[in-house]
Amino acid sequence: MMRKIRVLIAKPGLDGHDRGAKVIARALRDAGMEVIYTGIRQTPEQIVAAAVQEDVDVVGLSLLSGAHLHLFPKVVKLLREQVGDKVLVIGGGIIPEEDIPILKEQGVAAIFGPGTPTSVIIDFIKEKVGEKSQGTSA
């Protein structure tokens, strides 16, 4: 069975700083994953609709504008409504330490701040998606 991890890398909000998002996208590709990139300025509704149609295992959100407390939980909420909790949501960007527990409480699995090696993110995804697909496979 050719099981590949599929990841949606999305940039919610209005900031155009996509260096991080694109570096991550490439690193995940090089780790053997299939990465769908949405481009900048995506609304939570658009991100979730894309995640549904692409049937991804992971949604990675990158935001540097400071609107994360507003936008990240909204993505999680819409995902839960539309596909349940099978999709892993992770985030990155300029996220103050004190906001991380708030985001986790709302369903974001992890926040990877500036300076996180891409290998840490890759390992995290592999581990978590492995757990999930074992739990839900038919």
Binding site: M1, M2, R3, K4, R6, A25, R26, L28, R29, D30, A31, G32, M33, E34, V35, I36, Y37, T38, G39, Q42, E45, Q46, A49, A50, V52, Q53, E54, D55, Q82, V83, A138
Partner: protein, 321 residues
């Protein structure tokens, strides 16, 4: 497994994109459920008209697809898009970036977009991508657009699935001559010169027309060459008209049914080859035979006949059973 399939199919028939997406994944991952579902859905398919869009990287295919889908929606069609990008042969991963230019369509209830990696098909159309077309067909799409990056194999592969093939190029790529040489020209039913607001678009159009007059894919159909500026939507109306004209041509001239039958015949043969090959790899022990061939006790052709004979007894003349 049965229950899961039933539930998925029920959801699918209620028009759930989530279910359609899930089914495509099952097929893509070669899960047994996927095969089961496909058997059912195939019988419900056959109503979609499939348009292949192909051309070199940078020709603006996604932008053109975006514009074309918008116009199709305007004309009341339900549309599916399968966008294929190559899998990296080194890492097995893929970067699928076609959605970027189609983000306006994401929320449209009458549009379903799926990005797919070629997964080991060397840049061509994977079986999963072909099967995804069946899924979207059964899902009720009037049109399905298949977008492939034009690098040799995948451009040609698109002929195996598309009723109409749109070949996209842009001025200034300098590879139109290359394309003619590579025989790529023969696969197109409609030619698009995108980004036609640039310099020498007319020259490219004339060049394409001069070649097309000498060689055509289908008798009675001279492929039109259309200029577009996709991001502004210019020429897209003309393109869709050309697609619909080609469609009626195929129907009225009686070409469509034989064309589709021929494609299915080829598909069945390909699948047969694939099944036999898979069984050969799985069931036949090669080592002993190899030794015999290597020590000149047996020749390679007889060895091959013997191996095939093991799984299909009547086919091999030198069967050892």
């Amino acid at each position: 497994m049965e229950k899961m399939i039933e539930e998925l199919l029920k959801e699918f028939r209620q028009g759930s994109k989530r279910a359609a997406a899930r089914i495509i994944s099952l097929i893509e991952n070669e899960a047994p459920e996927g095969k089961e579902i496909l058997r059912v859905l195939y019988k419900e398919s056959g109503r979609s008209y499939i348009v292949g869009i192909t051309g070199p990287a940078g020709a603006g295919k996604s932008t053109l697809t975006d514009a074309l889908v918008k116009l199709m929606r305007h004309r009341g069609y339900r549309v599916g898009v399968v966008a294929v990008d190559p899998t990296s042969p080194f890492t097995g991963g893929a970067l699928l970036g076609d959605r970027v230019r189609m983000s306006d369509l994401t929320l449209d209830p009458g549009v379903f977009i799926r990005s797919m990696a070629s997964r080991g098909h060397l840049g061509g159309l994977s079986w999963a991508a072909r099967d995804a077309l069946v899924v979207l067909d059964a899902f009720g799409c009037d049109y399905i657009l298949v977008e492939t990056v034009g690098a040799g194999q995948s451009q040609v592969d698109v002929v195996k699935v598309a009723d109409t093939v749109v070949l996209v190029t842009v001025p200034g790529l300098g590879d139109d001559i290359q394309a003619a040489k590579a025989g790529i020209m023969e696969i197109g039913d409609i030619f698009v010169v995108n980004k036609a607001d640039r310099g020498d678009a007319d020259q490219v159009v004339r060049y394409l027309q001069s070649i097309l007059e000498q060689q055509t894919k289908t008798e009675g159909w001279l492929p039109p060459v259309i200029k577009t500026v996709a991001w502004r939507g210019e020429g897209v109306e003309e393109l869709l008209d050309a697609v619909e004209r080609h469609r009626s041509f195929l129907v009225n001239s009686g070409h469509l049914d034989p064309l589709r039958k021929m494609r299915l015949k080829e598909e069945i043969i390909e699948r047969v080859e694939r099944l036999i090959f898979a069984r050969l790899k799985k069931e036949v022990r090669m080592d002993g035979v190899l030794e015999e061939v290597y020590s000149r006790q047996l020749d390679p052709l007889s060895a091959a006949e013997a191996l095939v004979g093991e799984i299909i007894p009547q086919a091999g003349s030198a069967g050892r059973k």
